[in-house]
Each structure stands twice: as structure tokens, then as C-alpha cells.
Amino acid sequence: MKQKKQRRGFEIWTVFTWVIIALFLVFFIYPLANLLRQAFFDANGFTMKNFIKFFSKAYYTNTIKNSFKVSTLTTLCALLIGIPYSYFYSFYNIKGRKLLIIISVMCCMSAPFVGAYSWTLLLGRSGVITQALAKIGINIPTIYGMGGIILVQVSKFYPLVLIYMNGAFRNIDSSLMEASENLGCTGLKRFFTIVLQLSMPTVLAAALLVFMRAFADFGTPMLIGEGFKTFPVEIYSQFVGEMADDWGFACAISCLAIVITGVIFWIQKFATEKYKFSLNALHPIEKKEPKGIKGLAMHLYCYIVSAIAFIPQLYVIYSSFRNCNEVFFLPGFSLKSYKSAIKRNLIGAIKNTMTLGFAALAIIIILAIIIAYLTVRRKNFANEAIDTVSMLPYIMPGSVIGIALLTSFNKKPIAISGTLLIMIVACVVRRLPYTIRSATATLIQIPMSIEEASISLGASKLKTFFKATVPMMSSGIVSGAILSFVAIITEVSSAVILYNTKTLTLTIGTYISISYSLGVPCVFATITTLITVIVLLIYIRITGTEDVRL
């Protein structure tokens, strides 16, 4: 009896537990500890000087204020725009709903630089709209600064709200709506007292997501923030900018960033606690036909919002075919920009991007399945620790992860800085929490008895895992994995810290070429968009437009 028990202790899953813990220790805990060490210690031992420096200069503290301002406003605007949009979308038969949702997903998943860059082409100093309006004597504020950042971020993040809320609205049983109507409450009042209240947990979740993304967004403020410095931009310039002499200071700011996002995360959790009810619609709400002026207004609203978000993307593609010199677009069309882009290593960038995408994705899927299995089926202290730690990157801005990895792996024993490998590690760390979540959720749905049946029919535990469990989990993981792929190939914030000329990716190519050319970034952006579109179409094909989850 005793012997048997001991043998169980050596089962394969225990090995996996230790392998995963080892991987986490090396590639995540150690870099994180290193970050802390550099923030709090210098050659003379423990010091608070980095933090004192930060909080004693208004210049630095302002970056936090700015980031808060931008992220809060972006979140509010995204909610204000996204909630009505999703209400119309979920409760009415809006014409062209498929197209609208596809456009929305594309805007949301597009590379961070593409959006910002295309807005500068339209509303920048020499942007077409700015110029055209200037000709007829109208001077509009340019895209640069806080307003512009918010505009770009909102047009990228409102789809998150739309898709989250659509999921929530579809869980409201129609009898609840009828009960409310029956008790004398309809229209806008019903929307606020019932519909919105019932979806409050989702509103909060969407708000958190938008806030986190906006707060960690590096591309947009970097490109169009100019004098308006945000936190991630400051981290970046402290680390790689011209005056970057002080890694300790950059690390200290990074720690602050983690603390801030952590606090926000905790506040959201706390706020959601209040809503302890679950919804499950037996009869989802039937979509009404939008009629008359109201119907027209709804359509206009949805189309205009989507157009504002999407046209810049199209404009970049259009611009990639235009003639141009360093400063101006010229009349006529050609493939000149493509030729110069190829000279600038476009092909290499595509290769790197795809390698990065597939390698990171493969690792993520394998790890996510194993971790999900460990935390769901083999509950013990070590595995629960794995679960908690694997979620940490969720609250860490990409540039922070970049810095942590770079400062840890630029010397022996693991000198991988400047290679594609370190970028793969960064992407894996960043996307793993999302895939683990969906893998865990899927696994919980699968009854244990299926595995037991397989074992009772003579399959070994490992065989059961590969032949029964993994195939059943795959449906739940695939769609999430595809989105992760898009997120990886459009990754900027960590890549911008980790890349070098050999490991140039498409998004980084866009970013660098902005400084020397007008057409080349359009080409890099176009290719990125093209790949994104293809992958997203596959994704939508698999999930169906009504079940899109981001």
C-alpha cells in the first residue's frame, strides 16, 4: 500500500510541475527579482535614491499623472462609445452587423503603430485633412498631444467594450426585460436600471482591460505624444533614450508601473465582488428591427464610429502605393515604397515576425495546456503557486517585461539578448496568462469521468491526456491562440526594447522607418495589416461573428 502511494508521487505530472517551476524561475521570477534588485540596490547596497529622484521631480511624477489622465479618459470614452454601440448591436438587427464586427475586431487587433501612424497621415502637421482644411482657412488642432492619444486609443479599444458587452447582453433573459416592462419601466430607464446593472461585472471587466491596455500603451504616445509624456514612454527613454545612463532608475520606474497596474487590478476585483449574481439566459433577447428615425440614427452611429476607427487603416494601405519622397507624398502611384522597404530588410522582418509568432505560439499552447491540467486536475500547493505566478504578467506593462528580460539575460550564463529567442520569451510571458485562462475554463467543463473512462479502458495516464484530454481542450484553446498569434506579431512595447537590426520585426520596422521615410512605414504597416487580416478572418471563420471573444 505504502509503496504504491510512493510510486504515485513520481508520476509524470510531478515532473511537469518541476519543469514548469524551473522555467518560471529562470525566465520570469529571476528577471523580476533582478528588476527589483536594480531598483533598490546600487554598488553601495540598499538605496531609495531612484525613488527619491522620481518623486522629487515634477517632470517624472507628471508622467504618472499624464498616464492616469489619458488612461482614465480613454476608458471613459471607450465605454461611452462602446456601450451604446453594443446595445444597438445586441438588441437590434443592425444591417451589415457582420461587417461591423469584423471591422471592429480588426481595429482592435491592429498593430499599435499602424493606428497612430495613419492618424498622423490624416491629422498630423502635414496630414491630408489638416492641409485640406488649412487651405479653406480652417485650423484644426493637430493629432499631437493628449487629445490625439485619446482619439487613437479609443478607436482601438472601443471594440473591446463592444465585444465584451455583447457577450453580457446575450446572457440577459428576455423575461427579465419583459418583467421590467410589465412593471412599468421601459426604454432608457430600463436600460439604466436593468440592462446596465445586470451587465455591470462585464462593464467593470471591460473598463479594466481598456485601462490596462491604455496605461501600458507605448506606441501611440511615443509617436504622437510629443511634449505629453506618458509613463511607458518615460520608461523607454530612461532605458534606451539618449540620456539612458541609469538602468537602476528605469527599473525603479518599472516597479512603480507594476504597483500601479496591480492596484488598479485589485480595485477592479474589489468592485466586481459586489455583483454576486450570475446570468444565464434560457431565452436570449430577440433582436428587434430598428425602425424609423431611431433606427436610422442607430445605423448612422454604428457606421460612423466604425468608419472613424477603420478609415485610417485603409489610408495607410492606400498610402503605401503612393509616390513620395522623405517629406511629402507626390502625385502618382508606384511600388517604389515597396522597393525601398525591401532594401530595408522587409523580407527579413516578415521572416522574423512569422518565426516569432509560430515559435511563441507553440510554446504558449504547450505550456498553457500543461499548466491548466496541473491547476485543474492536480490541485496542490506547487501547482496553485504556478497558477498565481503565471497570471502576474497580466498586470505588467510590456516594456517592463522587456527591461526585466534584457537586464537579466545580457550576460552569461544566459546571454540571449539581441536574439530572437529573448523576444520569443517576452511574447510567451506576456500572452501566457490569456491562453491559460481559456485552457483552464475549457478543462473545467470537461467531466473528469471521461478521463477515468479512458483509463479504465486501458489507456495510460499520459496516453489519456494526449488522446482524450488535449483534443477535447483544443476547441476552447484554438480561437484564443489565434488571437494570441495576432497579438504576438503586432507586439511593440517589449519588442522595442529587445530588438536589434538582426531581429527586426514588422511592427518594429514600421516604428524605425517612420524616422527616415514616409512610404516605407506604410509598407511595413500594410504587410502587418495584411497578415493580421488573414489571421483574423480565419479566427472569425472558426468562432462565428456572434461569438467573438477578445
Binding site: S175, E178, E181, C185, L282
Partner: protein
């Protein structure tokens, strides 16, 4: 406060599919009125037309003298209890109950007073500050009832309100509903497909089939003198057999294939002519004896305490098969005697209680026995 509901020539279509072709009905003020019928016959559809959640393709609906066809559901002053209760999960019990009053802009003190009153009456005051998720099914049902009644509606509509509860709770809750309805004196339209439930709570029942009302009457009327064959076989258990009606010198005689015949003195005058008929004999309308009746043999028996059920087979008289009785055998119920249960295989004779038996035209459309009460208008 209570009001009568008049429906004239209601028509309901879903696309090209006509669900209710032409339905007229008068529901009296303060009565407990039940729509009863098999699944898919249009009960929910009709109820939702009254509530205003379904469009009305034709006909008129009146509350009292007020036509409500185009009245907004929120303005109809209806209390509604949904099958799945539809309690707002994000509001406490008290807030759920208050909800309708708040929408009516009732002053604060009055809201509190009325809410307290109704919660006390329905015995949910102790859960007032709980969230609905932490209530049992029966308690949620009570909350739904309180929420519907607190607004003092003109009519109360309930669509299978008990179908989510277990059997025991169903019986308990139906008594609660009945009692409350009587206390409040409200007009109540109740939908169910459970006939026992319908019998036990209703003042009157409308039996529906394929969107058409077959019979409206008190539970007793419907059970004892069903208007047609559908009602006879839908309500309660019944044995159907073919027979012949012969009239000689104004005397009506019903004869069965095996030659058993008996005289009936309650046949409608206009039906007093020779014709094929169908007899609907309830299990308790057959009496086992050895003098007169259908020749048969006991096939099986079930002892159920108070009663004993016998299944009896006749060589010459076979029961007509229906949806819920596909069996040649007669089913009959006898009060259990202290003597032995009649053993299987015993030859017996079955006498029909002729004052109770119902006789239908061969097409089953009409009961030709006097005493059918169908008061739909």
C-alpha cells in the same frame, strides 16, 4: 379593482403560420381562470397577447370597456408571474418587490408600507434583504408573486408558474396562490398543462387545442360533461368505445358490439335519431358485477390503498386507442374492499353507470348528453 377581460375574435400568426385562428372568451372579474391544453396549443401565446408582449394580428382585447390592443405593456396595469420567475438578480428581495411601485412614482412611505404588507402576506418578510440567488425555488416563486401583486394590478397573469418546482412544493404553492388570489380578489389568468393543478385551483377552465377553445366551464362541468371527445379524453382518464344509438318511441337505447344495451333518458332532443356514437366511460363509471354488462375477463390489477385499479379485457368490445391510452383493455377503479382482490383471469361483467356516462357523435365533435355547460362568452 378587479376587471373582466373580453377577447373577441383574436387572431395570431407567426409569419404564415396561424397559431390562433379565431378565439373569443370572456373572463369574469375576480375569477381564477385557467388556460389548459397540451403543449404547443397556444396558451402562452394567448397569455402574452393579453400581456402585450405578442403582436395581435386580429380581433379585440378589452379590460372592462377599455380596448387594450395598442396599449403599451407597461400601461396595462398587469401583474405577471413568469415561468422562470424573472426576478432581477442584481436587486434584493425588497428592491425587487418595490420595483413596480417606484416606476409608478408612489411616495416613499407608501412604497414601504405596501411592500411590507405584501411581503408579510406572502411570508417573505424575513428574506427582505437577501439577494434572490440565495433563495429556494419556492421562495423565489413567492417573491415573483409579491412583485406582481404589490402594484395592485387589474389582472394577474401566470404562465406555468409552478413548473420549475418539485411535486410537493407545487401542491403547496398552488394552494398559496389560490389563497392569495382569493384574498386579493383579483382576476387571474393562469396557464398550465397540468390538469390536476388546473382542477384544484380554478374557478373556470378553458381547454384549448390547436389554438381553439374546446370547452369553458367549472372543473366539475368539464370533467363530468365534457363538450367534446377531445376534452373528455384530455381531462382525466377515460375508456372510449364505439356504440350505437337507437331511438324507438322516443326511448333512446345505447348498444355495444357484444349486445350489452341500456336505456338513456338524458339524450339531447335534437340528437334523438339512430346514429353511431362513441361512449366515454371514466374508470369510476364502470361497476364490476355478475348480472349485467359487458362480458370481460380481469387481466391485471393494481392495489393503491384507497382504490384498486383493474384492467379488464373483453373479446367483443375493444377500447379505442388514444394518445395516452393505447390499450384494448378497460381501465376501472373500485374502492378497495376488505375481500380478496379479484384474481386475474376471473370472468366478470361491467355495468356502465348510465347517469354518468358521456355519449359523443361519431366524429367526436359533440356531446349528445344533456347538461353540457359551455359558457365561453
Amino acid at each position: 379593482m378587479s376587471v373582466n377581460i373580453r377577447i373577441e375574435h383574436a387572431l395570431k400568426k407567426y409569419g404564415n403560420n396561424t397559431v390562433i385562428p379565431d378565439l373569443s372568451l370572456n373572463i369574469r372579474p375576480g375569477e381564477f381562470f385557467t388556460l389548459l391544453g397540451p403543449s404547443g396549443c397556444g396558451k402562452t401565446t394567448l397569455l402574452r397577447m393579453i400581456a402585450g408582449f405578442n403582436t395581435i394580428e386580429g380581433g379585440e382585447f378589452y379590460f372592462g370597456d377599455k380596448m387594450i390592443n395598442d396599449l403599451n405593456p407597461a400601461k396595462r396595469n398587469i401583474g405577471m408571474v413568469f415561468q422562470n420567475y424573472a426576478i432581477f438578480p442584481h436587486l434584493t428581495v425588497r428592491k425587487n418587490v418595490e420595483y413596480g411601485l417606484k416606476n409608478r412614482k408612489v411616495p416613499k412611505e407608501e412604497i414601504k408600507k405596501k411592500t411590507d404588507e405584501i411581503m408579510k402576506k406572502i411570508h417573505i418578510e424575513e428574506y427582505a434583504d437577501r439577494m434572490p440567488e440565495r433563495l429556494s425555488g419556492g421562495q423565489q416563486q413567492r417573491v415573483a408573486l409579491a412583485r406582481a401583486l404589490v402594484i395592485e394590478p387589474d389582472v394577474l397573469l401566470m404562465d406555468e408558474p409552478l413548473s420549475n418546482l418539485d411535486a410537493k412544493l407545487r401542491v403547496e404553492m398552488r394552494n398559496v396562490i389560490k389563497q392569495i388570489q382569493r384574498e386579493v380578489g383579483i382576476t387571474n389568468v393562469y396557464v398550465t398543462h397540468d390538469q390536476e393543478e388546473a382542477m384544484s385551483v380554478s374557478d373556470r377552465i378553458a381547454v384549448m387545442h390547436d389554438g381553439v377553445i374546446q370547452h369553458v366551464g367549472t372543473p366539475k362541468d368539464i370533467y363530468q360533461r365534457p363538450a367534446n371527445l377531445f376534452v373528455a379524453s384530455f381531462i382525466g382518464r377515460t375508456n372510449l368505445v364505439n356504440g350505437k344509438l337507437t331511438v324507438k318511441n322516443g326511448k333512446c337505447t345505447v348498444s355495444l358490439p357484444d349486445g350489452y344495451r341500456f336505456e338513456m333518458d338524458n339524450i339531447l332532443d335534437e340528437e334523438k335519431h339512430d346514429q353511431d356514437v362513441i361512449l366515454a366511460i371514466r374508470p369510476e363509471e364502470l361497476v364490476i358485477n355478475d348480472k349485467e354488462g359487458i362480458h370481460a375477463k380481469v387481466d391485471d390489477s393494481v392495489f393503491l390503498g384507497l382504490n384498486t385499479h383493474y384492467y379488464v379485457l373483453s373479446d367483443d368490445v375493444h377500447c379505442i386507442h388514444t394518445e395516452d391510452k393505447d390499450d384494448d383493455r378497460f381501465e376501472l377503479i373500485q374502492e378497495s374492499l376488505i375481500d380478496e382482490i379479484i384474481p386475474n383471469g376471473t370472468d366478470v361483467r361491467l355495468r356502465i353507470k348510465k347517469e354518468k356516462v358521456n355519449v359523443f357523435t361519431a366524429d367526436g365533435c359533440k356531446n349528445i348528453v344533456r347538461g353540457v355547460k359551455d359558457d365561453r362568452i
